[in-house]
Every structure is written in structure tokens, then in C-alpha cells.
């Protein structure tokens, strides 16, 4: 993503902990056959055959992030990075362990929650804003900022189904980044819009990263970027925590994986 992103100053030793991931495990049910009917359930229960095929997407992960820190998560595909971010954002509940977060969060993980293609862009902005927990008055006041950022001034009364997917993504990104959160969570697989808008998104993320006291949590497959931006990194591999520590050490070890 952004080549313009720079590492923010390292926070003092005694900075307060804002994200505390304590021995977190996430278990998914990946049973191919689910008991979708009561009859099947009772038959299976009588035969003591109730299967719950567990899959541990995260296995006993612990780390702490301090206020003002930029923290990275690396790992190969399907290692559980997005799952970890969702637990921190509160979308998923950890199956075991606890995750404590202090402060407001802007989660750039999956954007555009609740968008309905039949509704107009304006209606979707209010709906999505509500789902993100925004105040109504805040959306009223910053509506124009959102529209300006997305550069879709003349399309506000049009149903979203007539938008291109890039235009939908622009709106979604604009709503998600209109606030100034205490904690910014970025899952980099989100790349939206044309190259001009991508640059704009990067500048916006940089603005948020540079603002005072913001804590950044970044998932990226671009190792250079992680090295440039993050103070500390956690490497999760296949749900296991491999290493937590200063960026250079962890990234060096992670890069050795392919050799």
C-alpha cells in the first residue's frame, strides 16, 4: 500500500496498554454436515453422535499494544490475522481467553456493512453509519465531507445498485474514515477504487496514523510496508503465535520462511 507511510514515534515505556490480548483462542465449527433439523438432532443425540468439528483458527495468542504504538500482524494466508483483527474489533467473540480494548475503534476490515443495493447512497450512509455506532448528528454534520471525499456529489440520490463496485467501495471507505479513532485497524487486503482514489485512501490513512495518540494495528502482506510503519510485530502462523517483538527481528525471521 502506501509508500508514504512513515513510522510514528515510538511511545514511551510507561504508555498505557490499550489492547490486551490474553491467551485468546478462536474455534470455528467446520462440520460439513450440520444438524439443521430437530429430527436429525434427536436421532444423533440418542446415538451419542453429536459431532462438532472444531477448527482452531487461533491458538493461545497473547500480546499487548500500547497507546500510540504501530503494531503489525504478519503470517501466510489463512493464518488467522483477519480473525484476530475481528476479535479485537469486537465482531467475533474469542472462544477462550480475553481481549480487552480501551478506546474507540475504526475498523477498516470489511467495509460497507449493511449496504442495501436498493437504497440510495444517502440512505446507505446513514444506515452504515448507524451500524458503526456513529451519532446521527455527527453524520448530519459531516455528510458533505463524506460525499466530498468519495467524490460522488451528483450520485447521492441514486440507488446503490446503479453504482460500479469501485464507487460503492469509495463510499464505504469514506464513511469508515471520517472519524478520528483512538485505535485504527487496517486489513490491507482492502484495496479500493482506481489508482487515484487508492492514493487518496493512503493519504487519509496516513493522516489518521500521524494524528496524536492513535494506535495502529496493521495487517499486510507487504513486508516492506510493515517494516517501515510498525514498531512491533506479531507473527501468527496457522493459528500459532510464532514470535512477538521488535519489527526487524520478527520480519527477518518471517522472511526466512520462504528460503
Amino acid at each position: 500500500m502506501a509508500n508514504i507511510l512513515k513510522r510514528p514515534p515510538i511511545p514511551p515505556e510507561d504508555a498505557e496498554t490499550v489492547i490486551d490480548v490474553d491467551d485468546v483462542s478462536m474455534i470455528f465449527n467446520i462440520a460439513s454436515e450440520q444438524f439443521n433439523s430437530l429430527k436429525e438432532y434427536f436421532i444423533a443425540a440418542m446415538r451419542h453422535e453429536l459431532k462438532f468439528k472444531e477448527f482452531r483458527a487461533l491458538n493461545h495468542i497473547s500480546f499487548k499494544v500500547k497507546r500510540g504504538e504501530a503494531f503489525g500482524l504478519v503470517g501466510t494466508n489463512g493464518s488467522g490475522k483477519s480473525t484476530m483483527l475481528k476479535i479485537i474489533a469486537g465482531v467475533l467473540e474469542a472462544s477462550e481467553g480475553t481481549c480487552t480494548v480501551r478506546g474507540t475503534i475504526a475498523p477498516l476490515i470489511e467495509l460497507g456493512a449493511g449496504f442495501d443495493m436498493e437504497l440510495t447512497a444517502k440512505e446507505n450512509i446513514y444506515l452504515n453509519g448507524a451500524l458503526l455506532g456513529y451519532r446521527k448528528e455527527f453524520i448530519d454534520e459531516h455528510f458533505q465531507d463524506i460525499v466530498d471525499f468519495a467524490e460522488l456529489q451528483n450520485f447521492m440520490e441514486m440507488p446503490l445498485k446503479n453504482y460500479s463496485s469501485g464507487m460503492v467501495a469509495r463510499i464505504a471507505f469514506a464513511i469508515a474514515t471520517i472519524t478520528e479513532p483512538d485505535i485504527l485497524i487496517v486489513d490491507e487486503t482492502l484495496s479500493v477504487g482506481d489508482f487515484l482514489f487508492q492514493q487518496k485512501c493512503e493519504r487519509r490513512i496516513k493522516e489518521l496514523v500521524d494524528s496524536d495518540d492513535v494506535t495502529v494495528l496493521l495487517v499486510s502482506h507487504n513486508i516492506d510496508q510493515v517494516e517501515r510503519l510498525c514498531d512491533r510485530v506479531c507473527w501468527i502462523e496457522k493459528g500459532q503465535e510464532r514470535m512477538v517483538g521488535p519489527t526487524d527481528e520478527v520480519c527477518a525471521a518471517y522472511k526466512n520462511l520462504g528460503k
Partner: protein, 273 residues
């Protein structure tokens, strides 16, 4: 909207409601979404919502009207008797069938944002209540045509509607949780609703029931709510204290059970949707 426009602008750092206060705005947005999706596309949508209970009443009055009236003049105006019962029952059946599916329908949303899961069943019940507003127009039309006067007792009707709404929320919480784990609950519930329709004195008088069923009706919440509504709108009487307690009792019990079951299992929803 912006009554106090002169108030200080809200900074981007203070964009969020405190977690406990978010649900109101979310519910408002979700219900208004349902409303727009249902009524915007066709002007006939609104007309249809008024016409539907009217047509149902007309057909039933044509089929059952003649002999019911002979048998039991104590029913009062049969057309009003019918439409009051049918619309209230329809409210419950809409609210619970939609509420039951709400969590399954919201699955993609539940995987994307942090949100209190109970808002989805509640949203569907609130939307059914909004739709009931159109039924009220139909009821008013029938009362005008049939020259049934409205007395002050009708101001008690919101009590029945409010308790019925809470009753529906309780049922919807229970059903939506059950449907996540067992999809055939959805089919089962439509069967229950059909049976319940016939077991409730909607188009026949209470008095034609055999004694044991008359006793059993006192445990039928829909009979209680509908009787209350007919008492205050059609018969111009004030229901007894016991009726008030029964309305409230069914609502509170349904909500308590529904919420307890929902709350106990909601953290597992994500594994099954």
C-alpha cells in the same frame, strides 16, 4: 431535524454514541430501511396494506356471516369483530415469522460489524407494528361504514398493542435463536401458526366452544389480547383488572424466556450462520 444547529460541532473524536445508546439509532435506521424497501417501489404497496385486511374481512364475512349472526347476536357488529381479531393475529404472525428469520438473514452483517444481536428480531417486530398502522386505517373504514361508534374506551387500545408487541419480541427472540440451530423450526412454526389461527376465536364466537376449550382459551395469549381489543373498540367496555394483568403477564413471561434463551446461546450463532 437540526433544531439546535447552533450547538457546537461534534468533533471527529467524538463521533460515536456510547455503546449503550447505539441501538436506538440502529433500530430506527433498520426499520426505516424495511419500510422504504416495502413501500417505495410501488404506490400500490400502501393501498394494498389497507386493502388486504379489508378483503380478508369481506370474504370471511360472506362465508361465515349469515349463520354466525343468527347464532350469536351478542357478537355485535360481525365485520368489526372479524377485522379486529384478524389484524391483531396477523400482527403477531408477521412479527414472529419475520423475527424468527431475522438472525439468519442478518448473517453477513453479524460477520462484519460489532452489533447487539437482539436488534434484528426487535427490528422485525417493530416493522410489523408499523405495518399494523395501515390495518388501523382499514379498521377505521369498516367502523365508519358499519356505523360502529368509537368511545373513549378505545384509548386503552395502545395498552393491548404495547403488551402484544413485547409478547412478540419475546417469541421472536426465542424463535430466532432456535432457527439458527435448527432450520426446520421455520416450517414447524408455520404449522403452529395455522393451528393457532383456528384455535383462536377469530371468526367464530367464544361461546360455541366446548367447555374444556373455553377454559383452555384463558391460556391462549392471542385470545386474551384480541378480547381486550374487542372490548375497548367494539363493545365499549373497560376490561377487568385481571385482563390487564393477563396481557402484561404473557408479555413479561414471553420476554423473560425469549431473552434468557437468546442470551444464553447468542455467542454461538456465528458458528451456525
Amino acid at each position: 431535524m437540526n433544531a439546535e444547529k447552533n450547538a457546537a460541532t461534534i468533533s471527529a473524536k467524538d463521533a460515536w454514541y456510547p455503546p449503550a445508546k447505539r441501538d436506538r439509532f440502529i433500530l430506527k435506521q433498520l426499520v426505516s430501511k424495511d419500510f422504504k424497501l416495502k413501500y417505495r417501489r410501488s404506490a400500490l404497496g400502501v393501498v394494498w396494506s389497507v386493502l388486504n385486511p379489508l378483503l380478508m374481512m369481506l370474504v370471511m364475512a360472506a362465508v361465515f356471516g349469515s349463520f354466525m349472526r343468527y347464532n350469536d347476536p351478542s357478537l355485535g357488529n360481525y365485520a368489526v369483530y372479524l377485522i379486529l381479531g384478524n389484524t391483531a393475529f396477523q400482527l403477531m404472525s408477521d412479527a414472529t415469522s419475520q423475527g424468527m428469520n431475522s438472525i439468519i438473514w442478518a448473517s453477513s452483517l453479524l460477520k462484519k460489524v460489532k452489533i447487539n444481536r437482539y436488534v434484528f428480531p426487535v427490528q422485525k417486530v417493530l416493522f410489523a407494528v408499523v405495518n399494523y398502522g395501515f390495518s388501523l386505517i382499514a379498521i377505521a373504514l369498516v367502523m365508519v361504514v358499519e356505523r360502529v361508534p368509537l368511545t373513549w374506551t378505545a384509548i386503552l387500545m395502545p395498552y393491548a398493542l404495547a403488551t402484544l408487541m413485547v409478547f412478540c419480541i419475546g417469541l421472536s427472540l426465542l424463535l430466532s435463536a432456535a432457527a439458527v440451530f435448527f432450520r426446520d423450526v421455520i416450517h414447524l412454526w408455520s404449522v403452529v401458526l395455522t393451528a393457532w389461527t383456528y384455535a383462536t376465536p377469530l371468526f367464530y364466537p367464544f361461546k360455541i366452544l366446548p367447555h374444556w376449550m373455553q377454559v383452555a382459551e384463558h391460556f391462549n395469549p392471542m385470545y386474551i389480547y384480541i378480547t381486550y381489543i374487542r372490548d375497548v373498540v367494539l363493545y365499549h367496555t373497560v376490561p377487568s383488572v385481571n385482563m390487564h394483568i393477563a396481557c402484561l403477564g404473557f408479555a413479561v413471561v414471553a420476554l423473560a424466556i425469549g431473552y434468557a434463551v437468546f442470551h444464553r446461546h447468542e455467542h454461538k450463532f456465528i458458528l451456525y450462520i
